[in-house]
């Protein structure tokens, strides 16, 4: 069992009307189709705010990227923040077939990462299993008018009537948002890409697959540098894979990658060109009393994220979220149980493959609260400073504008209290894998299977 000191706030949830933390979350918007039968292509596979929070991008299994834009502040409704509306939709990846390996390459968008803004246009990287693409999203509000040889509607003029030359003139038009592919970074990954991360130097980024991490220059597509390679000479000896990787938010030379064995390695690119030797290894010794057949599976890290200030990193494994101080390698500084009540259900979760679900996690703008998803369309808010947590639900039932989300509680065994949900009635097909937090404000985006919920802080 986890240390007692951490248990005594684990299930502290204030009564109805309160919240796990001081913020009261209320419904803002839901995107996506309402009908129950879900098209495979519509399943959301990644959610990401840009650096200002003005834009929110989602990627789906159909290879599409949808970008939502926050409407500019409306003074008459100042108590309620503006909504996100569709800004641009484009097909980022198409299904492909690798004829040499006889492999289908899915179009599913695995990750989206925004680049820091460099001019009036916005740029993002999107990736499927094999190919990373750099997209430019730009606005156009002028178009040229005036031809010499034809009318604006396309009818040709009699060439004999041309006596003077006309130079076209730009005239205002309705705003048009264009997404155009600028770079395609292909053919560098043998295995499936699980992460991309832009460096703070603004000119390089990394891409990680199961066994390797490559470093790219954003303007160079025909070569990348391999910086980590954990592929053993003999694949039979393979014992772990890379599950996620991220650059430090400020130190351009530092990145981390997590493994299926529950460890995180921090590498310093200054030390050498090939980062096979890590400079720090974050690992918590396993509690022998807790060991079971599933120990290794549930300790696999599904996501790793640096805090905005760069001091901490957060990892998500199957049952918990851990916060690590970069200066302390032997144990996390904080451990939060996400859904400890599932520990007794691991066998059935193994049978229905749910145990392999890759939950992501995210920080709020000032690193005081973290969020991650669970089953039954529940998601968890873990308040670090107040050591409180709350479970909320993204559901159609609480979809009224500005409706405050009620905390949910799961009965962990024993007698079920009023308002509690029994573990057996949780729906494991409804899971929240992908969430995102606005970089400055209390606005969150939560992806259920094919819907995107946007919640925000209730402002009185």
């Amino acid at each position: 069992m986890w240390p007692v000191t951490k248990c005594n706030w684990r299930f502290v949830v204030s009564g109805a009307g309160g919240g796990g933390n001081d913020v009261q979350w209320c419904f803002s918007q839901v995107k996506g189709a309402i009908d129950d039968d879900v098209a495979e292509a519509d399943i959301i596979s990644t959610v990401e705010f840009n650096h200002s929070g003005e834009l929110l991008a989602t990627g789906d299994k159909g290879g599409r990227v949808v970008i939502f834009q926050q409407e500019t502040e409306n003074k008459s409704q100042s108590q309620f923040r503006s909504e996100y509306n569709v800004y641009s939709t484009f097909q980022s990846h198409e299904p492909e077939f690798d004829y040499l390996k006889s492999l289908e390459i899915e179009e599913k968008i695995n990750k989206i990462r925004w680049l820091p803004q460099k001019n009036a246009a916005q740029f993002l990287l999107s990736t499927n299993d094999k190919t990373i693409k750099l997209w430019k999203i730009s606005e156009r509000d002028k178009r040229p008018e005036g031809y010499n040889l034809k009318e604006e509607d396309g009818r040709y003029r009699d060439a004999a009537t041309i006596t003077t030359l006309r130079v076209p003139v730009f005239r205002p038009m309705d705003l048009m948002v264009e997404a155009s592919p600028r770079r395609v970074f292909a053919n560098a990954h043998t295995y499936h890409i699980n992460s991309i991360s832009v460096n703070s130097d603004n000119e390089t980024y990394l891409s990680a697959d199961d066994l390797r991490i490559n470093l790219w220059h954003l303007e160079i597509t025909d070569r990348s540098f391999n910086i980590v390679d954990i592929k053993p000479a003999n694949m039979e000896e393979l014992t772990e894979v890379i599950t996620a990787a991220e650059f430090h938010p400020h130190q351009c030379n530092t990145f981390v990658y997590s493994s299926s064995k529950g460890t995180i390695r921090l590498c310093d690119m200054r030390a050498s060109a090939l980062c096979d030797k890590h400079s720090k290894l974050f690992e918590e010794p396993e509690d022998p009393s807790n060991r079971s057949f599933f120990s290794e599976i549930i300790s696999s890290i599904s996501d790793v994220k640096f805090s905005h200030n760069g001091r901490y990193m957060m990892t998500r494994d199957y049952l918990s979220v851990k916060i690590w101080d970069l200066n302390m390698e032997n144990r996390p500084v904080e451990t939060y149980q996400v859904h400890e009540y599932l520990r007794s259900k691991l066998c059935s979760l193994y049978e229905n493959d749910c145990i392999f679900d890759k939950f992501e996690c995210c920080w709020n703008g000032n690193d005081s609260v973290v969020m991650t998803g669970s089953y039954n369309n529940f998601f968890r808010m873990l308040d670090r400073s107040q050591r409180r947590d709350v479970t909320l639900e993204a559901s159609r039932e609480s979809c009224k504008p500005r409706q405050v989300l009620k905390p949910r509680r799961v009965c962990a065994g024993g007698k079920r209290k009023k308002d509690e949900i029994s573990v057996d009635s949780l729906d494991f097909n409804k899971k929240i894998l992908h969430t995102a937090w606005h970089p400055q404000e209390n606005i969150i985006a939560v992806a259920t299977t094919n819907n995107l919920y946007i919640f925000q802080e209730k402002v009185n």
Binding site: K118, K142, T163, V167, S200, E203, E219, R270, S272, A273
Partner: protein, 589 residues
């Protein structure tokens, strides 16, 4: 001017203008490339008032169109009415200097730098400098990076108050929030320093250099190294120690290997910039450290510089420094764990012998060459062999020949055909240095063996190699040693080898001269015209065409013509084709 000449002359221009906004990128690109034609037809007035405003708004276009536009505008001065109106070109170039695509921005900056020279001093202050300031204080870093490249072109030609202003703007950019801008500033720091007055270099540039060289971003620090080299060339010798050396020393020991790599890569320039005294006191130990660096990339970059560094050492102490400081490091590198390091070293190590003279070479360098000749990596061995000429001049190649031979034989039989190809290319050089006797004895059989290699590229290179050998050793040698062997292959059972005979004859006929060609080669070629493989037959036709000019006319008429005529009636159409071609080229019809 427009309008006056009527429809005929206007039509093509009208098409060009319309295609500026065609849906097809290629057509737009064509139109942009003929922008000067359009401008000429419109006249200077309309170019200024209509065409340029249109182009200023065209920034939504594809990169290649924008790139072409940025380039065109750099030579547009005449078309807008000469230097008096050149500032009209600034608005479109300003908007191009803010696009996200680096190549376009760089081209726009290049054009801006070009037209800045066409501004009068007054226009420069009234129009150009404000543009630079606008870019330098732009919201987006794309415009600020572009600004960095424009300071140095306007600085020398403006009044001192504006100069102060420009320096201030440059300072601001050096401490910009985004690493992109700091990188751009760092890369232009040296260039900007060159146009500044020496006092300002000391008071302004040095602090900026020191700050950039200790930037938190590796990518900024490594660019500062290059700037440091340029700045060092500007400063008087006595100021170097106080102003730049501390920073440069720090760069050579930077925590990041990329920065140290940059120092190693720029080492020769640095050496020239700081002069002999500082080289002795500072650079020699720094160079030793780089040669022993823990990162292979750094060691390889430093190893590449060994020759130039040693050459440029002050003459009075050169030999001592090399023998006591550099050579021990070099000895370690010979057995480095990384093959790139060893091969970088192998490409320069031989040239040390010219600097060290005969005795040192025999005593100290020769053992190293011999180790490298036995290296497991073929590239290392090749690099040694390809530089043999340096050693030959100092100690003669004989000293090496005993070890050379096994190395050459091993490379000649390497499993990778590219390695075999590389060694073939050095054969003529080796033959020249080892002499004909040694060659006949040891290497001739290798050269012949390549002729029957199973890779065509090797057979082809071997053919070419024979030609070069004959050029070196002469026709008599050819007749005695290689021609019999080549002609012998004409009876080989493998048609590929029979064709090799033909290819060799093609290559050799000219260098061997008329007599050998007519007496020995021609009969073989003619005999092969009845070969049962069509590929051989049409190559006979091609060979005859090739060697025809070497033969005299009687041989052509009496022997070549009947054979070609017969081949021209061959049942294979390729044979017919090449026979007819040869007949017409040799004018035998």
């Amino acid at each position: 001017m427009a309008g006056a000449e009527g429809d005929d002359s206007l039509y093509p221009i009208a098409v060009l203008i319309d295609e500026l906004r065609n849906e097809d990128v290629q057509l737009r690109l064509n139109s942009i490339k003929k922008l000067s034609t359009i401008a000429l037809a419109l006249g200077v007035e309309r170019t200024r008032t209509e065409l340029l405003p249109f182009l200023t708004d065209t920034i939504y276009d594809e990169d290649e169109v924008l790139l072409a536009l940025a380039e065109q505008l750099g030579s547009f001065t005449v078309l807008v009415g000469g230097p008096e109106f050149v500032h009209n070109l600034l608005p479109p170039l300003e908007s191009l200097a803010t696009v996200e695509e680096t190549v376009v921005r760089d081209k726009a900056v290049e054009s801006l730098r070009k037209i800045s020279q066409e501004h009068s001093p007054v226009d420069l202050e009234v129009h150009f400098v404000p543009l630079v300031k606008r870019l330098a204080s732009g919201d987006w870093f794309t415009s600020r990076t572009s600004a960095c490249g424009l300071f140095s072109v306007c600085y020398p030609r403006v009044s001192s108050s504006v100069k102060a202003d420009i320096r201030q703007h440059f300072r601001t950019l050096c401490s910009d929030d985004t690493p992109m801008v700091r990188r751009a500033a760092a890369s232009k720091l040296g260039e900007f320093a060159k146009v500044l007055e020496l006092d300002y270099v000391k008071s302004d540039i040095i602090p900026l250099f020191t700050a950039l060289a200790s930037d938190e971003q590796d990518s900024v620090r490594l660019l500062a190294v290059e700037a440091g080299v340029s700045i060092a060339t500007l400063l008087p010798q006595e100021d170097l120690e106080a102003l730049v050396m501390a920073t440069l020393r720090q760069a050579a020991e930077d925590k990041s290997w990329r920065v140290r790599y940059m120092v190693a890569d720029k080492f020769s320039e640095l050496q020239k910039a700081v002069g002999p005294e500082i080289t002795k006191t500072d650079l020699v130990p720094a160079f030793q450290n780089l040669l022993k660096d823990c990162e292979a990339e750094v060691r390889a970059a430093a190893a590449n510089k060994v020759k130039v560094f040693c050459e440029n050492l002050p003459e009075d102490s050169r030999e001592t420094i090399i023998m006591t400081h550099i050579l021990p490091c070099v000895k370690e590198l010979v057995s480095d764990t990384n093959q790139h390091v060893k091969s970088a070293l192998a490409s320069v190590i031989m040239s040390l012998s010219t600097i060290l003279g005969k005795d040192n070479t025999v005593e100290h360098l020769l053992p190293l060459f011999l180790v490298q000749l036995k290296d497991e990596c073929p590239e290392v061995r090749l690099n040694i062999i390809s530089n043999l000429d340096c050693v030959n001049e100092v100690i003669g190649i004989r000293q090496l020949s005993q070890s050379l031979l096994p190395a050459i034989v091993e490379l000649a039989e390497d499993a990778k055909w590219r390695v075999r190809l590389a060694i073939i290319e050095y054969m003529p050089l080796l033959a020249g240095q080892l002499g004909v006797e040694f060659f006949d004895e040891k290497l001739n059989s290798l050269c012949m063996a390549w002729l029957i290699d199973h890779v065509f590229a090797i057979r082809e290179a071997a053919t070419c190699n024979l030609m070069k050998l004959v050029e070196k050793f002469g026709a008599v040698w050819a007749q005695n040693t290689i021609v019999p062997k080549v002609l012998g292959m004409a009876n080989d059972s493998n048609y590929l080898h029979r064709m090799t005979t033909l290819f060799c004859i093609n290559a050799l006929s000219e260098v061997c001269g008329q007599e050998i060609t007519t007496k020995h080669m021609l009969p073989v070629v003619l005999k092969m015209s009845t070969d049962q493989v069509a590929n051989v037959r049409f190559n006979v036709a091609r060979s005859l065409q090739k060697i025809g000019p070497v033969l005299d006319s009687s041989a052509l008429q009496a022997e070549v013509k009947p054979v070609l005529e017969k081949l021209a009636t061959d049942q294979d159409m390729d044979v017919k084709y090449f026979a007819l071609e040869a007949i017409s080229v040799l004018a035998l019809a």
